[in-house]
């Protein structure tokens, strides 16, 4: 009986993980699939940018190679990082591939923020698909668009650094207007919404 419950729970966990990832991967309008017409436009001037599998795969592999260097310094989770290649590749068919490898969250929508992680929250196990990055000599671990720092054996949710793009603003962010420009304010950080590649993303800015 106990075993059965355990296995149901495990199944649930797997299902949830898949569900979360898929939720993040659902393409938006604007970030939609190409039709026959665009698929066959070639060589498109923006061939590197097109939703072409090969191009995307290469990009992400490169990103992850870079990240792996950091992974080795910080956490022994190469396997998960490599798994993320796949996740990113599909998420980014129209969206995420265009991000900078080193400064970007990984392009997931509604990540940990949506799961209710607030700044200062500490989790004891590594977040899913951690992507260590170093910005201005500070090491962050980015998972599902949320920035963490390692604290002992735990991971504390921190504000993202200025100048990075995230896919969602923290829970409780309030909309403010400064000089006619709309921002979302959370924990003293201003997030400027912009549309890029057909979806709304948020860049942290210093006002």
């Amino acid at each position: 009986m106990k075993n059965q419950q355990l296995s149901v729970r495990q199944v649930r966990q797997v299902f949830f993980a898949v569900l979360l990832t898929l939720t993040l991967a659902i393409p938006a309008f604007g970030a939609d699939r190409k039709g026959v017409r665009s698929s066959n436009r070639s060589p498109a001037p923006a061939a590197a940018r097109s939703a072409n599998v090969g191009a995307n795969r290469n990009v992400n592999v490169n990103q992850n190679q870079n990240r792996n260097v950091n992974v080795n310094q910080n956490v022994n989770r190469n396997v998960n990082v490599n798994q993320n290649v796949n996740v990113n590749r599909h998420v980014d068919v129209d969206v995420d591939v265009h991000s900078h490898g080193s400064y970007h969250s990984g392009g997931h929508f509604w990540g940990g923020f949506a799961a209710g992680l607030v700044i200062g929250a500490v989790i004891t196990s590594p977040p899913p698909n951690p992507q260590p990055i170093v910005i201005q000599n500070t090491t962050y671990i980015v998972s599902e668009g949320v920035y963490y720092q390692q604290q002992g054996t735990g991971y504390v949710v921190v504000n993202p650094p200025i100048g990075v793009t995230v896919q969602a603003v923290p829970p409780g962010a309030t909309q403010v207007t400064v000089n006619g420009q709309v921002y979302f304010l959370a924990n003293g950080i201003h997030y400027q919404p912009v549309m890029q590649n057909g979806v709304t993303v948020y860049t942290t800015v210093k006002l």
Partner: protein, 250 residues
């Protein structure tokens, strides 16, 4: 009897297509009958001055080994040569798009944020600008362009006619085409109004070969759509934000 012949021809066509696909350099082998149906459907759309339609769209998302199908609805209003309004709705990603001949606007409905870009030209040109410069892809662009046939028939390596079949109660003609990058199939209403009823695109070069499926409904080729239809009016409380150029790989 006729159906049998058609089926036989189709099967032959498929095997020919398979042979053609096996040898990359083989010239295209598009069955003239498949081409005729495609052209009829495209011409029907190309000659419509203004039209509206609805579609339900299923898009495969492949994450690791899981393939899941997402669903959304699309409503489109089109007026040749330079007006489009589209709405797509799904629980998280409802979007509106307007092109009024001078500006295109993308509205992120859940966030109530919109961006506009000054642009001019035909529907086709604006789709290309949105795609190439801003990374915005369009659902069902294939039935939006001013003359769908040239882009649909371009790059075909093979095409087969698979005969008659009924789609949701409507007698249709099924044709299938293949290009280097995608396989695609069209079910065309078998009537004096040969309109698309169903479209399936298979992105065969991608892992898991995800598909994009659209079922069309409510075609109206006699719409009279006023200029106002295509002019964006911000919803209450909507904020304008910038549309950045497409991020490219670096």
């Amino acid at each position: 009897m006729e159906y049998k012949h058609t089926l036989l021809a189709a099967l032959c066509g498929l095997s020919l297509a398979a042979t053609a696909m096996a040898a990359d350099s083989t010239p295209n082998s598009v069955d003239p009958e498949a081409d005729r149906w495609l052209r009829a459907a495209c011409d029907k759309l190309a000659t419509a001055k203004a039209y509206t339609f609805k579609a339900e769209v299923w898009t495969d998302v492949v994450v690791e080994d899981h393939k899941i199908t997402t669903t959304k609805t699309v409503e489109a209003q089109v007026r040749r040569p330079d007006r489009v309004h589209m709405e797509t709705r799904s629980p998280r990603f409802s979007r509106g798009f307007w092109y009024d001949g001078k500006t295109f606007t993308l509205l992120d409905r859940p966030n109530n944020l919109y961006g506009s870009v000054a642009v001019s030209g035909t529907i086709d040109q604006v789709l290309d600008v949105a795609n190439d410069q801003y990374g915005i892809n369009f659902p069902l662009e294939d039935v939006l362009v001013n003359d769908p046939y040239p882009s649909a028939s371009k790059a075909l390596k093979s095409g087969v006619d698979l005969g008659k079949i009924t789609i949701l109660g409507t007698p249709c003609h099924h044709v299938a085409f293949s290009t280097e990058r995608v396989d695609w199939q069209l079910w065309i209403q078998d009537s004096p109004n040969p309109l698309p009823r169903k479209l399936v695109i298979t992105y065969k070069q991608e892992e898991g070969s995800p598909q994009y499926t659209a079922i069309f409904s409510d075609w109206n080729l006699k719409s009279s759509l006023s200029d106002k239809t295509f002019v964006f009016t911000p919803p209450k409380g909507a904020a304008k934000i910038e549309i950045l150029p497409a991020k490219t790989d670096e």
